[in-house]
């Protein structure tokens, strides 16, 4: 999920703690700030600290002036071969191609276990918002193709799109069956997203008060649970577990509706918890009524209006997916 969903989830966790609400009513915002920070902390650690220190054996930096996909395919195939031959993990980083202040050349890499090959092709120029710029798809688009020397096992999706900011990285490692397992973004959703790390953080926070520890642990665990809804999963109990537990594949982390739904639900839960903490409320309403008026009816109206608008347009919603595939 996106940062704001984790962030507000942490605030929602704090709102469930009566001591946090009471402290806030007395002017102390600490528990809520702590919950918010703990909610987003796992991603902060990964994206703002850990990834800069994560070593890659192979770093592929395509030439922006010569769009040749073959060296990329060769590098990925070579990494698989090395991992299969040595048994040591081989980490590969695919760099993005920045071609202006706000423009990036997109390319896609497909590691196909069934065909036993890697295919790479360049796509259009996209903005930092990943919006393809019209007329930028290269006229001549050869496909770089390299055969894999060992069977591979995917843990994520087979096609990887490389475009903005930092490119993806992979860890190739041979398993006991002789297959080379592909771990996507090996520096992400690992120890920082584990329950053990959450327990350590909670222990640290408990030096202040045990209530802080509860808020931190709750926010952290909720982050882990939310991430388990996606495709990548998380490594739940390192050092006892070494791999990520596969996600439930219910959503992608960037999907608009689940993210907004989560944020809105958290806002309503916070509102309800604050209301419930008022001893003699001036206004009286039930939780069901709140959810009905503030979530179910508005979401239903949005759904119907959107359906009508899409139907009135061309019958399918407009998406940003680029019309090409490797």
């Amino acid at each position: 999920m996106k940062g704001i969903a984790h962030f507000i989830s942490g605030v929602a966790v704090a709102s469930f703690c009566p001591w946090a609400v009471e402290a806030a009513q007395n002017g102390n915002p600490a528990f809520f700030i702590l919950g918010a920070a703990a909610g987003v902390l796992p991603d902060t650690i990964d994206f703002k600290f850990y990834r800069f220190f994560y070593h890659h054996e192979i770093s592929v930096e395509p030439d922006p002036n010569r769009l040749d996909p073959q060296p990329i395919a060769d590098a990925v195939a070579a990494a698989v071969a090395e991992a299969a031959a040595t048994g040591w993990p081989v980490r590969v980083k695919l760099a993005t191609i920045r071609i202006g202040a706000d423009n990036w050349r997109q390319y896609r890499v497909k590691i196909d276990p069934e065909a036993g090959e890697v295919r790479v092709q360049f796509g259009p120029v996209v903005s930092t918002g990943q919006v393809p710029q019209p007329g930028t798809l290269p006229a001549n688009r050869p496909v770089g193709l390299a055969k894999l020397s060992a069977p591979v096992l995917q843990s994520y999706e087979p096609t990887y799109t490389v475009d903005i900011f930092d490119g993806p990285s992979f860890k190739f490692i041979r398993n006991q069956a002789g297959q080379v397992e592909i771990e996507f973004l090996p520096w992400h959703r690992n120890w920082s997203h584990s329950l053990t790390f959450g327990a350590c953080l909670a222990g640290l926070a408990s030096f202040w008060t045990w209530q802080a520890g509860v808020v931190v642990f709750g926010a952290h665990v909720l982050h882990v649970i939310e991430d388990q809804m996606g495709h990548m999963g998380t490594n739940l109990l390192p050092p006892f577990t070494k791999k990520r537990m596969p996600g439930l594949k219910i959503m992608h982390s960037g999907d608009a509706f689940p993210n907004f739904g989560c944020v809105w639900l958290c806002c309503l839960l916070i509102f309800w918890n604050l209301y419930a903490a008022i001893p003699e409320p001036l206004y009286r309403f039930s939780f069901v009524r709140l959810m009905l008026y503030a979530m179910i009816i508005p979401f239903a109206v949005f759904g119907v209006v959107r359906w009508l608008l899409v139907r009135a347009d061309k019958g399918h919603p407009e998406t940003l997916s680029t019309e090409w595939n490797v």
């Binding site: 940062g3 930092d166 608009a256």
Partner: protein, 442 residues
């Protein structure tokens, strides 16, 4: 009724000219208008509220819609528009400035629609409950928003090279600049709050030179020295948008602008940031239109809520200025406000196309850099006229801070530390101890 309609139209037309002047904030003009009304009152004359309230609403509504034009075409945004500038200027630089401006304008019209037909009927019933529940918790909500701004900036560097400290420092140059900007502007805010440098007579404009320096001047300076050549601009007949995109924009912008209009100190820029993250919209068109919605819902909505029966919420400079002149107390006031907003919104949107075309002609004839220098001159003169030499000094200091994010590529929203930090500290009861620590209470 006719005087009210005429007043709305007069306010809207005046807003057209004011909106085209880059860097000029409508609250400054409203402040001057309030001073004029006070002087009338002092002279034994009185203006009818049925006239000056629609006039003020016309000013705010018209300005919040039409200030998109300088934001996109002249590159001098106010704080609420800083998010539209990057995509908007991208449109300008590929010859589609008109399309970009009109797209944001379409969002603004959707914002007016939301205010009048959705928020308008429900606000008096539901928002008093929300205020009742949230009132004791405003301080931590503000702190949580600050934490979000500081924790969610994305590192732009550190994407290449071997792993290690050099990569880390490369990435953190932007993040560090953002944090530095926030705390510097926060310190400036403390200084302005506890040791106001502007004279007592101009106290209502205390923060204005700082805002101009933080947000408007850096853009004018960068534009003036960058040597940007604006390419030939094309005027399109239709906008590449549909109902679905407009609906998604309205939801995103409405939530962002609504959040900013309802909670204290949260500005339109912050509301836009939160809504952009929450609704996860990547499409530039949705993004731009949602910022148009957010801007209108923030400025006009905040003023509208001041008139909502059972709520009478004072948020934003506009409501504060009117509060000094008039206290709304009936449904008639609310209907007058809603009607004024609807009329002004419709007229402003109709004026948007000709004004945009006129501005594009201006850019064609006059060098973009000269316009930036001219804008710089107007803003500086305005600050001098209103706040004098002291104001110019504050503006210069603020410009130094405002240039940090521009030069380092960090979020310009960090400049809002000027408001957020001192007010959050005050709301949590630690403002005075911090001010004492900084030596501001001696």
């Amino acid at each position: 009724m006719i005087p009210a309609v005429a007043a709305v139209l007069a306010g809207t037309v005046l807003a057209c000219f004011l909106a085209i002047l880059p860097g000029l904030h409508i609250y400054n003009v409203m402040g001057l208008a309030a001073l004029f009304l006070y002087s009338l009152h002092g002279g034994g004359l009185a203006a009818m509220p049925e006239v000056y309230i629609p006039f003020m609403l016309g000013l705010v509504t018209g300005w919040s819609i039409l200030n998109t034009i300088p934001s996109v075409l002249l590159g001098a945004p106010d704080e609420s528009a800083i998010f539209t500038v990057l995509p908007g200027q991208k449109y300008l630089m590929i010859g589609r400035g008109y399309e970009g401006t009109m797209m944001i304008g379409a969002g603004s019209l959707a914002g007016v629609f939301m205010l009048v037909f959705l928020v308008g009927p429900f606000a008096p019933k539901f928002l008093p409950v929300a205020r009742y529940v949230f009132n004791p918790h405003m301080h931590w909500i503000l702190w949580v928003v600050i934490a979000f701004i500081l924790m969610t900036e994305w590192p732009k560097g550190g994407n290449r090279g071997p792993a290690g400290w050099s990569k880390f420092f490369d990435a953190w140059s932007t993040l560090g600049a953002g944090l530095f900007t926030f705390f510097l502007s926060g310190l400036l805010g403390f200084l302005l709050l506890y040791r106001p440098l502007v004279s007592v007579d101009d106290a209502f404009q205390n923060i204005m030179p700082a805002f101009v320096g933080l947000f408007a001047i850096p853009w004018c300076l960068i534009n003036a020295i960058s040597g940007t050549e604006v390419p030939k601009q094309y005027v399109c007949d239709t906008l590449n948008i549909n109902g679905d995109l407009l609906l998604r924009s309205s939801i995103a912008g409405g939530i962002g602008g609504g959040f900013a209009a309802f909670f204290p100190v949260i500005t339109g820029g912050i509301g836009g940031l939160l809504a952009g993250h929450a609704t996860a919209q990547r499409d530039e068109r949705v993004f731009m239109m949602s910022q148009g919605v957010s801007k209108v819902v923030y400025y006009t909505g905040a003023l509208m809520l001041f008139f909502a029966p059972g709520l009478f919420l004072t948020r934003g400079g506009g409501a504060l200025i009117i509060k000094g002149l008039y206290t709304p107390h009936t449904w008639a006031d609310y209907y007058l406000a809603l009607g004024s907003i609807a009329l002004s919104g419709a007229v402003s949107f109709l004026l948007m196309s000709p004004l945009t075309k006129w501005t594009l002609k201006l850019i064609k004839v006059v060098d973009y850099r000269h316009i930036s220098i001219f804008s710089l001159g107007i803003i500086t003169a305005l600050v001098f006229v209103i706040t004098g030499w002291v104001g110019l000094f504050i503006m210069t200091v603020a410009t130094g801070i405002g240039l940090i994010p521009v030069l380092f590529g960090s979020r310009r929203l960090n400049c809002l530390g000027v408001l957020l930090l001192p007010i959050a500290c005050n709301m949590s009861g630690i403002g005075e101890p911090v001010a004492a620590f900084l030596g501001l209470l001696k």
